[in-house]
């Protein structure tokens, strides 16, 4: 193997002047690149409108579902918190008793020091409420006499779960009372169900967030594949990883943002469709209730989460695939 170093016979007279890029210029060009890349990524979405819309629709649905569930749950919680969760005992009176006797009995109850409140719902009042709120009001017209018993709602002072059943038994044993119902249990059950549903929505939300990550990741991966040549050439002429990464991260950002906006619209539309029946339901429970949308905080949270998911999804794709595209095989 020969290898001698021959001195060049035409030594350079001067070196080619290197161009210098000042640091202020560099910052300006960095900003310029961000702006142009952000625009470019948005334009690219528009170049394939059908495919982009499909992707965005999938993202919107995946994001809207947990958003809608959580909004519905927070509404339910607002609804039940409006309720008196103070346990109450409903005393159903013997139907033979006269109105006057029932009235007297309710006054006697007021004197007890283990009760904080007594509310009499007379047979007549019960009938009126039934007529107003029940779909079976017509049925009552068929009957000769009012079949409803008078009810006395008493509010115990204590909310001790051991003492309450004892008090209920004691009241039920009174001769005027035909039956006593402690109505705390179903509120507690409802709360437990709501807590479970909330947990369920978080789990579902987590799964759907994963779906968003994968959808964005896959879409960005396909974009990377389609721009393989550009990536190779850019790397060959000295593009940094960040430079190459940037357009794809912006794609993910736009997918997240636009998907989030669409999801927000879906949730608002769904909630507004539910608004009237929910109002009617609330009125049945004599509750002043207004269906709440996502609110500012919820909306921002939703948009923020979807932008983050979009960025994270594209980051995953970029981290996974950009390193594979190295100009070795050119």
């Amino acid at each position: 193997m020969t290898n001698k170093r021959s001195a060049p016979d035409n030594t350079p007279r001067r070196g080619a002047r290197q161009h210098r890029v000042e640091s202020a210029d560099r910052r300006r060009s960095w900003r310029r690149h961000h702006v142009s890349v952000a625009k470019g990524a948005l334009l690219r979405l528009r170049q394939t409108p059908v495919a982009s819309f499909m992707t965005l629709a999938v993202l919107a649905i995946a994001l809207a579902l947990p958003g809608f569930l959580l909004a519905a749950l927070s509404n339910l919680q607002a609804l039940t918190s409006g309720w008196d969760t103070q346990p109450r005992i409903a005393l159903y009176m013997q139907t033979e008793l006269s109105d006057a006797a029932i009235d007297r009995f309710s006054r006697e109850l007021l004197l007890r020091d283990d009760l904080s409140g007594v509310e009499l719902i007379s047979r007549q009042k019960g009938l009126e409420e039934f007529r107003e709120y029940s779909a079976f009001a017509d049925l009552l017209e068929q009957l000769d006499a009012n079949p409803l018993p008078a009810v006395i709602m008493v509010t115990p002072l204590s909310d001790n779960p051991v003492q309450l059943p004892l008090l209920k038994e004691e009241l039920a044993a009174m001769s005027q009372v035909s039956d006593a119902v402690l109505d705390m249990e179903w509120v507690q059950r409802l709360d437990a169900v709501l807590a479970l549903a909330q947990r369920g929505s978080y789990v579902l939300g987590g799964l759907l967030a994963l779906a968003v990550l994968l959808v964005v990741g896959n879409t960005v991966r396909m974009t990377i594949e389609s721009r393989r040549d550009e990536i190779l050439v850019s790397k060959l002429v000295g593009a940094t990883d960040a430079w190459v990464r940037r357009p794809f991260l912006y794609s993910g950002f736009w997918f997240g943002l636009l998907g989030g906006v669409l999801a927000w619209l879906l949730v608002q539309v769904a909630l507004s469709l539910l608004s009237d029946p929910a109002q009617a339901l609330a009125e049945l429970y004599l509750n002043r209730f207004q269906l709440q949308g996502l609110g500012l905080e919820g909306s921002l949270l939703m948009l923020g989460a979807s932008v983050l998911l979009g960025l994270a999804g594209s980051w995953l794709a970029v981290a996974r695939h950009l390193r594979e595209i190295e100009p070795g095989e050119v």
Binding site: R5, P12, G15, A16, H19, R26, V237, V330
Partner: protein, 221 residues
């Protein structure tokens, strides 16, 4: 000062194929040299090592003051910005104009757009394609495409210009034009290394010739 220095460089690909076997040479700054040899002799591998498209299995490659084996992955882009490369298959992007193709290295290095535009036009003028700046490279002839590739390689005035078979599929007259173009860049101080197997052309140019055979440097004259 040496622009390129190879010190006992071996390259074995993961397939087991030996591309370079103990290559030593030095290219002085401002020198122009040809790299020749049969196909598969290791010319492309040698070029790739300079661009850090590949890493040597053994030995050291220096570009300027820089020992490439000490270069971290994140520093590779800065090395590549100092080198201009012309490829045989020119590697142009067909989704943008000739102008945008040539402007790419300047955009990446962060030039001001107005300044970049001036330099792009100067480079296109140099290769005689100023009137084609708005064309898509796919509309150009092979020779013109190759010249766009050259404009892109020299637009940022690199200290070092590498060309891998730049005249591979051009007719002799065009080939000579392109070689004269490289000579012009060399005359303003750019170090030029051209891989080519066009012996008649190389012999007419009267420059240093490095000859590879089966991965070994067998002649340097």
């Amino acid at each position: 000062m040496a622009a390129i220095r190879f010190s006992n460089v071996f390259k074995r690909y993961s397939s087991g194929q030996d591309a370079l076997l103990g290559v030593n040479f030095e290219l002085a700054s401002g020198e122009m040299s040809f790299l020749t040899g049969h196909s598969g002799a290791g010319k492309s591998t040698l070029m790739k090592l300079i661009m850090l498209m590949e890493r040597p299995s053994r030995g050291q490659v220096w570009v300027g003051q820089q020992d490439l084996s000490r270069l971290h992955r994140s520093q590779i882009p800065l090395l590549r910005r100092q080198v201009g490369v012309v490829f045989q298959n020119h590697q142009l992007l067909f989704d943008r104009t000739v102008f945008d193709n040539v402007a790419l290295p300047l955009q990446i290095s962060g030039y001001d757009p107005a300044d970049a535009a001036r330099r792009v036009r100067a480079a296109l003028d140099k290769v005689g394609l100023l009137d084609r700046e708005k064309h898509n490279p796919i509309m150009l002839s092979t020779g013109e495409q190759q010249r766009v590739g050259i404009a892109r390689a020299i637009v940022h005035k690199p200290r070092l210009l590498l060309a891998d078979e730049p005249t591979g599929n051009l007719d002799p007259e065009l080939s000579e034009d392109i070689m004269r173009l490289f000579e012009q860049f060399n005359q303003i101080g750019t170090t030029v290394l051209i891989a080519s197997h066009d012996h008649s052309l190389i012999n007419r140019m009267h420059h240093r010739v490095l000859t590879l055979r089966n991965g070994r440097l067998i002649a340097d004259d």
